[in-house]
Symmetry: C2
Subunit: 492 residues, 2 copies
């Protein structure tokens, strides 16, 4: 086979790259750190986007679009936010090229076309959006403002990985404005729950909802809520974040509103986002050494049908059966593809769709048809069954539901088995090095200890889980008193 995949055991990192490249999700590009999202990967992203978009609209949000560029003077207005992103941003300084007098046919930046003020390619849009909100918000009647944007952003990362960390990525960023602190916090939490719902019920990806420590907060946030998932190599992945921004951006951009008693106050803010990074998490959480395994609910193709035949007469018989079956499946809302291409043999197609993670494959052969049956193979367990054509559409529909549930259960089972309590430093290190996964351990609550643990163990506090159990203990690192365990892990 031309499309060999490195096994997970052999090289987990290479296995991941193989899946992304050979599964047709993405490709490298000529631009450092930027990827090309290929049609199959983009179709997956479209499905994810459409589901999320509906969830946002169902919770009262509307979409809008703000400029790609942030003038430097706006970018630096909220100091913590600026500090957090200053070291990794792409900066536009000129607006024209001219012919290079020394190199015929080549172009050079025209030094006379230098911008008076540099433009930052947005790494996130709080600055440009809050500068705009200033013109839109005068009174409590203008609030809440519940706006989302689907956009590309750029963060000049030094070490990049397809989907997981790229210089440019696609995402959505919600930016809301509220009259009260309480309402903004409710919004922040609401969107975290939306993200968790999406991850678990659509991506089959179990997540832990929690709050970040001060060290790990979004630059400019008062509080960062997150959902944390676990990959098959025992490393954690931050899958989405929702930030309570307090009045930081309102103060930086002077956005005040008059309340019902005509008092002026700064507006309260949230922002929240998920990105194409989720696709990386999806790949790493579910797939195996034969290729991708995609959850039916968001898979671009849910069912693929492959004919097995010799000669035109057999093909015609199969076509007739498949046409009926395809129509039935489509009427149930199932995304089905009939691959009767003649350039490739059935065995090649089987391997190809296994690689691409299509949840269900139906093979329709002449001998089977004589018995009014077909062979149904599910991608998650690789089980094959001989199924009667009578009632097969409902069978397939139920099977897709079962696969979705099974994928979630399997990932949850793995994740649950990889949350381990550590009570001493040695236990802590042993778990990180050998068992891997999340380590639930006491921490004294200081940034210094957190930094020291990160330095020594290469593990970070992924989150303080929501509704965390309060329990007296001593910090695994400093030995100082602690009131609760937090979740550590090595992470992407």
């Amino acid at each position: 086979m031309s499309k060999e995949i490195t096994s997970r055991e052999q090289d987990y990192s290479q296995w991941y790259n193989d899946l992304v490249l050979k599964g047709g999700l993405a490709d490298y590009s000529a631009v450092r750190g930027c990827m090309v999202i290929k049609p199959y990967g983009y179709a997956l992203w479209e499905n994810m986007r459409d589901v999320l978009d509906k969830m946002f609209k169902d919770t009262g949000h509307v979409n809008a679009y703000f400029p790609l560029f942030v003038p430097k003077s706006l970018f630096e207005a909220e100091e913590k936010n600026a500090e957090g992103f200053a070291k990794e941003c792409a900066i536009v300084t000129h607006y024209r090229l001219k012919n290079d007098p020394d190199k015929p046919g080549k172009l050079m930046v025209d030094p006379e076309a230098k911008l008076e003020e540099e433009l930052i390619v947005r790494p996130t849009s709080e600055a440009i959006i809050w500068n705009t909100y200033k013109g839109w918000i005068q009174s409590y009647r203008d609030l809440p403002l519940l706006i989302n944007q689907w956009a590309n952003v750029v963060r000049w990362e030094m070490r990049t990985r397809l989907f997981l960390r790229t210089a440019e990525f696609l995402w959505q960023e919600g930016h809301t404005a509220h009259a009260t602190k309480e309402e903004a916090i409710i919004e922040t939490e609401k969107m975290l729950h939306v993200y968790a719902d999406f991850a678990e019920n659509w991506m089959a990806l179990p997540v832990i909802k929690g709050v970040k420590t001060a060290n790990e907060r979004f630059a400019g946030a008062e509080d960062t809520y997150c959902i944390e998932a676990l990959m098959q190599d025992g490393k954690a992945l931050q899958a989405g974040t929702s930030h309570f921004l307090g009045q930081n951006f309102a103060k930086a951009f002077d956005v005040k509103f008059s309340d019902k008693t005509n008092q002026l106050d700064y507006v309260w803010a949230t922002s929240w986002g998920v990105s194409t990074r989720l696709i990386g998490g999806l790949v790493m959480a579910h797939s195996d050494d034969q290729g991708l395994i995609l959850p039916p609910k968001i898979a671009p193709t849910q069912v693929v049908i492959v004919p097995i035949y010799k000669g035109d007469a057999e093909k015609e018989n199969i076509d007739a059966v498949v046409n009926t079956l395809t129509a039935e499946l489509k009427s149930l809302g199932i995304r089905v593809k009939y691959d009767d291409g003649e350039n490739q043999r059935p065995g090649w197609k089987f391997a190809e769709y296994e690689m691409k993670g299509v949840p269900v494959r139906i093979a329709v052969g002449t001998r089977d048809l004589a018995n009014q049956v077909v062979e149904v193979a599910r991608r998650d367990t690789k089980e094959k069954s001989t199924i009667s054509l009578d009632g097969i559409s409902n069978y397939i529909n139920n099977l897709l539901t079962e696969i979705q549930q099974n994928m979630f259960n399997k990932a949850k089972d793995y994740r649950d088995k990889h949350i381990t309590k550590a009570n001493t430093w040695d236990e802590f290190m042993d778990i990180l090095d050998n068992k891997t996964g999340f380590v639930s351990a006491h921490w004294d609550g200081t940034s210094e200890t957190e930094d020291a643990i990160k330095e020594k163990a290469k593990a970070t506090i992924r989150c303080i889980p929501l509704n965390n159990e309060q329990e007296a203990g001593t910090c695994i690192f400093s030995g100082k008193p602690s009131s609760q365990r937090v979740l550590f892990a090595r992470a992407y």
Copy 2:
């Protein structure tokens, strides 16, 4: 009224800006030449995008996503394309900011973080895409490649106008690769017809399909097909283009394929795009001095219902009727909004939805309800009718169809009356200056004459219509022989 609109007669250009700003479609931003697309404008764009996207998919195309940045060396590879865009592109030269030692709290571009090779923010993506296609195309089996991208692009225009000409805009760009010249030309024409279908049957915007002259071609194209629309001030607007690129990009990026006989040849290409500029055309083609008039098929809200009542008891009666009506309309797939907000009076709401161009407004009042009727107002003609509640849903559904058709007819009637033949230079100038619109005139076919006419009359050749009638004549400018008339106009 706080939202006064300049009339078309008073100042057409200001009228347009008023509609865009006060109709809630877009806003100016802090970034030179870039706009904010507001929620109402973005909802309109989403509807347009979804229809187009389905049309592209129905014609066999898939979506993908390519990087925002184009390295300078790729940008300059296709010389004509590079020359066409070099003077209006945003250039990223650095990747990091640092604290400004002279200005505490301010940032400056870090001179040590200069890119080895500058990156151009894509003004169009042929270069980055054809550089990618090189890796995807080896054999005729890999063709055709039918890919579309929804993206933002940046062209550093000196004079910008909301939607019509902005430094950053949203668009889609199709980029296809073919084994033969014939197939590529068929694709170019097919997509032009898709655009015309969309403009006429969804936007109610009649268009003329044609081919651009060499002067007006896309930089790097062998042929540019276009659809041209007419605005209410008699100026033309290029509403979409589809380019036959020949083998220019394949040669620039060395993209060859082996055909069935194992011969190597360069791949044939097309590209085609429409953008948020269409929204500008939509506004200018249909609206009036009271506000926007949106075609029902793409209007974010098709029907708005406003209650007229005194006291809670009356409101409850109205609510009961409206809830039933709303459910009925929704079951017909109609986008309906019930505005029972208490902050504004009915008269204010009437003006607001007139401004926003909602196609149908239903006023539900207590007195009318006693007679089992409501008042229905259509935005396009401003006619009001008293309509029985019995069967009203179907009435509204039909009315929406009628409004859509009426808007198209009205625009087409205006357009048809504004295609005028000129046989002398004086006639030509008189039409341009007074009657306005398209002028159908003989042209000698040379770029020199075209340039001279543009210089003297500020009019360009909008297109040579498809299937243009061949007719011997003499050029209105040079007096030289001509074989056909072409369409001139002043244009946006």
